[in-house]
């Protein structure tokens, strides 16, 4: 209580002071028994006479504390839930400030990660908008303000960008939904097997994501001369008589890059779905069988999918990122720029302007649009999966 007085915060209508004299061990136990939720129970158990800064009481509904002051011990109960919070703005700010001072240690422990996080993620993302309105080549400082010129050029004059959007959408369909569904079914199938086989297949499907940048192998496979594995295979079977230029013929570029993109797309999302299957309670299936579930499809739709919403959401986020940032596979495989800009995605476009032409303002504008597109995709997916997320 003394502590709260220091801050000058008036919490009278919401504070209820009970003298500790009235509380005995039995009563405390009774209170605990009366507590409705386990966390509330934990809170009462956590009440302390040492007035340890509870910088993190994990419940914002009711805080009950036992304080010891020179006058004697007493309990104070502060009601903090939003419905009952009636204090004015200044009181609210004063209270927040008080809380912030109390949670100094929290901020201190958060600082190392958060400072780097702000420098390398938050600032770049936020800066990309103002940067997008400038013309900046890294050499002349400060950047020149050009208003909406970059966005105007992007949408109305830059034909390559228009094509890049089209290409990105094609890639996004394959590496997004298709790969997502594929991960799900693979995980489902793998889950049916013996544990040894499970481990083996998980490793096999995840291995490409770990192997990283071995795109040169795909160049060997798709090589345009008869040394290429694919060409020599097709030749030996008699399907073709001449070598096909897989990576330079505009007709074949897109399928080739999509195949490699799919190959590399079983990443953390796939692992999350796999783990999600593993953590479903088998008794659910038994119950389902009693309730009249006839076959595996019904089981999948009525039991499995609803109980792994969170994992599905995580995997979806991973796929959104992967599908919107398709770039490096195309560039490593078919070169940059590719024939007729066939493998030229939005990300490749940003790379082009950022790293080749050093038009950072223009590149930032592209990146900013990409951020927006990803946020929209994220919220759409969240809407679709929302009914599975609350359990």
């Amino acid at each position: 209580m003394a502590k709260l007085k220091d801050t000058g915060v008036k919490l009278k209508p919401r504070k209820e002071i009970i003298s500790l004299d009235a509380i005995t061990a039995e009563e405390l136990a009774a209170r605990q028994a009366a507590a409705k939720t386990p966390s509330e129970k934990a809170l009462i158990a956590a009440s302390t006479i040492s007035d340890a800064p509870i910088g993190g009481v994990a419940e914002d509904a009711k805080v009950i504390r036992l304080l010891s002051t020179p006058e004697g011990a007493h309990t104070e109960k502060i009601i903090l839930n939003k419905a009952e919070r009636k204090y004015s703005f200044s009181e609210y700010m004063a209270y927040q400030w008080h809380e912030m001072k109390k949670s100094g240690m929290c901020y201190a422990m958060l600082a190392p990660f958060m400072i780097l996080f702000i420098i390398f993620t938050v600032v770049p993302v936020i800066m990309s908008l103002p940067m997008g309105f400038t013309s900046f080549d890294m050499a002349s400082f400060p950047p020149k303000w050009v208003g909406f010129d970059n966005f105007y050029t992007l949408f109305l004059e830059d034909d390559v960008f228009t094509q890049a959007i089209r290409t990105t959408i094609i890639f996004a369909i394959f590496t997004g939904p298709l790969s997502y569904i594929l991960s799900f079914f693979l995980a489902w199938l793998i889950n049916e097997l013996h544990p040894r086989l499970k481990t083996l297949f998980t490793l096999i499907f995840y291995a490409p994501s770990m192997a990283g940048n071995i795109y040169f192998v795909w160049q060997l496979i798709f090589s345009g001369d008869a040394y290429g594995y694919l060409n020599s295979f097709l030749n030996s079977l008699g399907f073709t008589t001449a070598a096909i230029q897989w990576l330079t013929n505009a007709q074949y570029i897109l399928p080739c890059v999509i195949i490699v993109q799919l190959w590399v797309s079983m990443g953390a999302g796939f692992l999350a779905i796999r783990a999600g299957f593993q953590s479903i309670d088998p008794s659910m299936y038994e119950a389902g069988a009693i309730e009249g579930i006839r076959n595996r499809w019904q089981e999948l739709i009525y039991i499995t999918i609803p109980s792994m919403g969170p994992q599905l959401m995580f995997a979806a986020v991973m796929q959104i990122v992967a599908s919107f940032t398709v770039d490096i596979v195309g560039r490593s495989l078919v070169g940059f720029p590719s024939t007729d800009y066939r493998a030229h995605t939005i990300m490749t476009h940003a790379f082009d302007y950022g790293w080749v032409r050093f038009e950072m303002g223009y590149a930032s504008a592209i990146c900013f649009l990409l951020f927006i597109a990803m946020l929209i995709a994220n919220s759409v997916v969240r809407k679709i999966l929302s009914r599975y997320l609350d359990n």
Partner: protein, 323 residues
């Protein structure tokens, strides 16, 4: 009923009991989860489950698996083919006379650049170890605070972390470069290490796992007078070892494969992937050495993943986003 005052010693005893109970409950739940996982492996009798289905699944997965493994297999085969076999027409799927010449060749080629290859290897290990270490230490503290403490701004930061999963380094790379250039970090070790530390993915996974630890345990430790630091390292982290292992693996993979060619141009600072990229510029004529380097780069992440596979799966089970 005799009314007696609740003495500090009694409360402390009660807390100790609670603490033990909470730990016991956590252990029991772990054991139950483990048993559940064990049970769900293998022989779960369920609707429409027959051994015929299983064989069908194995055949189907094996076919797809072949497609997944084939390029990796080619990389390994290429790395052990002697030079005359690399150019056989038509290309063979096996090596007649396997040799380690390509690995030697890789070493010689790499040594012929400005600095000895050992320097690049050292750089790779230095950068990987330092950023993985700092990532884990920082993420541990941050995840504990974000998962278990409420303070002004905590909800906002938690939301920011989830959204940041969308903005991985691929997209923010250009803007990151500008920031690094303004901070004068280009062409220093800092450019390779610092941006790799605040990976949202590792923090997110850890927050989810720490969230599984009962609040009562932490509150009890607070009552016992433990500082937040002590709770974090003494109580929380030992209970999320699988998650720690997982984020170490993810971070290791990310840093190990990161080719920082555009932020570091001094040969003495380059890591293995960058050097490999340079060697790869020689194209197909040096495919043996490229294959060898691919194998060398591939081995550490693979080995670590295989060793910790079970722990990764356990962590990923908690990876869900509930909102």
């Amino acid at each position: 009923m005799a009314k007696k005052e609740l003495k500090p010693s009694e409360i402390a005893a009660k807390q100790a009991a609670d603490n033990a109970a909470a730990l016991e409950a956590l252990r029991a739940r772990r054991a139950k989860e483990h048993a559940k996982m064990e049970k769900s492996k293998g022989s779960n009798k369920r609707v429409g489950k027959t051994w015929k289905n299983d064989i069908g699944i194995v055949i189907f997965l094996s076919l797809l698996g072949l497609f997944m493994v084939f390029p990796i297999y080619i990389a390994i085969i290429t790395s052990i083919k002697p030079i005359n076999e690399l150019f056989i027409m038509p290309p063979k799927l096996y090596s007649i006379d396997p040799t380690f010449d390509n690995f030697e060749d890789l070493f010689i080629v790499a040594n012929n650049s400005w600095v000895p290859f050992s320097r690049n290897v050292f750089n790779s290990f230095l950068v990987t170890v330092v950023s993985t270490g700092l990532h884990v230490v920082f993420a541990c503290m941050a995840s504990f605070i974000l998962a278990k403490c409420r303070f002004p701004g905590s909800v906002l930061i938690n939301k920011a972390v989830v959204i940041a999963l969308l903005f991985n380094s691929t997209v923010t790379y250009i803007m990151q470069y500008i920031v690094m250039a303004r901070l004068g970090m280009i062409n220093t070790y800092a450019a390779l290490v610092l941006p790799m530390i605040p990976q949202a993915m590792g923090l997110f996974l850890l927050i989810q796992s720490v969230g599984q630890i009962p609040d009562a345990m932490i509150e009890a430790a607070k009552v016992d007078g433990a500082s937040l630091m002590r709770i974090c390292w003494g109580i929380v982290m030992p209970n999320v070892k699988p998650a720690l292992m997982t984020i170490i693996i993810f971070e290791f993979q990310a840093v190990w494969n990161y080719a920082g060619g555009s932020v570091v141009y001094d040969e003495a600072l380059k890591t293995i992937p960058t050097v490999v990229q340079q060697i790869a510029l020689a194209g197909l004529s040096r495919q043996g050495a490229i294959g060898a380097s691919a194998v060398v780069l591939m081995i550490p992440p693979l080995v670590i993943f295989i060793a910790a596979q079970g722990q990764v799966m356990e962590t990923m089970a908690h990876a869900g986003m509930k909102d």
